[in-house]
């Protein structure tokens, strides 16, 4: 967190999917807002100013202002505004994701997925599925052993490198809360990437079945059967040249798509361990 010079609003620098951001926090609640953003996004923050093309830096201006008249005045030209901190924090996360995904749409395949990896080998598993299939819960449960790469968006480079997106996890902490709290993965005790290059090893379609008992089951899908859901969970797939072939090729390079059926996150741990050990 920093201010460029005296009088500038506090600003948080971070990277999301390797896209540089500067989040200027304004309004009477700016100091609290900047502290909260820096704390929740601590695994994405960077200290030094971006040393590449400054035009690449995504500038977001976020206003936290309790006074309605002042908020109306300041909201013009802002990226995001609210009268209370929880609302603002809840809305910031999808905005950063949306901007970052849009910026990487030409060079990454991005799945709506939880991504985790073996801390030693760097082999990574991408577990994709629509909202409600438990991606955040999986990350929260399994990434105490496996390295946390994302609970939301897995970016895959052409060489199968998985680009970490170490965003805060959006969690409803108390029953009855309507807004999710943005919690740093560090605060949850998750394992942080340590500079090992992470490489995609498996693509897993998530299927949550509350009636499922025992260890999660893993079924191989034919690529043609996997494509509808794979496309549905891929951002900007239509921008690819021959998108079905592009995704099919990616699937073939990691041995095809598998579907995991489970009810509780813990049931997936041995299955993922076996995949990463080459036993599944």
């Amino acid at each position: 967190m920093r201010g460029s010079s005296v009088g500038d609003p506090p600003c948080v620098r971070l990277e999301a999917l390797e896209v540089p951001f500067e989040i200027a926090c304004t309004g009477s609640g700016a100091p609290d807002l900047a502290r909260s953003v820096a704390a929740a996004w601590d695994w994405c923050t960077v200290d030094a100013p971006y040393d590449g093309d400054l035009a690449c830096v995504q500038q977001l201006t976020v206003v936290l202002e309790q006074d309605a008249e002042e908020l109306a005045r300041m909201s013009a030209g802002s990226s995001l505004f609210a009268r209370d901190l929880p609302t603002l924090m809840d809305r910031l996360s999808p905005m950063v994701t949306r901007v970052a995904v849009n910026e990487r749409r030409r060079d990454l395949v991005m799945f709506h997925a939880c991504a985790l990896a073996d801390p030693v080998s760097g082999d990574a598993v991408v577990l994709y599925g629509p909202s409600g299939t438990g991606k955040t819960t999986l990350a929260r449960t399994l990434c105490t052993d496996f390295v946390y790469l994302s609970d939301e968006t897995a970016g895959i480079a052409p060489d199968l490198r998985v680009v970490p997106y170490l965003k805060p996890l959006s969690i409803i902490l108390n029953q009855g809360d309507t807004l999710k709290e943005q919690v740093s993965p560090g605060r949850l005790g998750l394992a942080r990437p340590e500079g090992v290059p992470y490489r995609l090893r498996a693509l897993i379609q998530l299927r949550r079945d509350p009636a499922h008992e025992g260890v999660a089951t893993l079924d191989s899908l034919s690529t043609v059967d996997a494509l509808p859901e794979l496309v549905a969970q891929t951002s900007y797939s239509r921008d690819f040249e021959r998108p079905l072939h592009h995704l099919a090729d990616l699937a073939h390079r990691v041995g095809g798509v598998r579907r995991a059926t489970y009810s509780e996150a813990e049931q997936l741990r041995p299955v993922i361990r076996a995949i990463l050990d080459g036993d599944a």
């Binding site: 034919s222 043609v224 494509l227 509808p228 998108p243 079905l244 099919a248």
Partner: protein, 90 residues
Amino acid sequence: MTRARRREVVDVYVEDGRAAVYSTEGMVLLLSELATAAWDVLGDDWTNTEHVAQHLVQRFGDPGEGQAEALTDETLGSLAEMSIVELEQS
């Protein structure tokens, strides 16, 4: 007489006789083997549905008197509902 032709699609992927078709409406549709074969006969130009029926009979056998045409019409009708085939009475 009814004739049919393909509508523009984003991409088609075929594996083991079944196609996934990415429509311009942003949906990925999974076709049966029969629908894939019917789709395969069609092109950008109009094709009589009788010709499609003949091709399907050659490929899958004759289902019985009058059934080939009915099944073909039903299949092409489904593809038209998915907006990946255009039908026209000529």
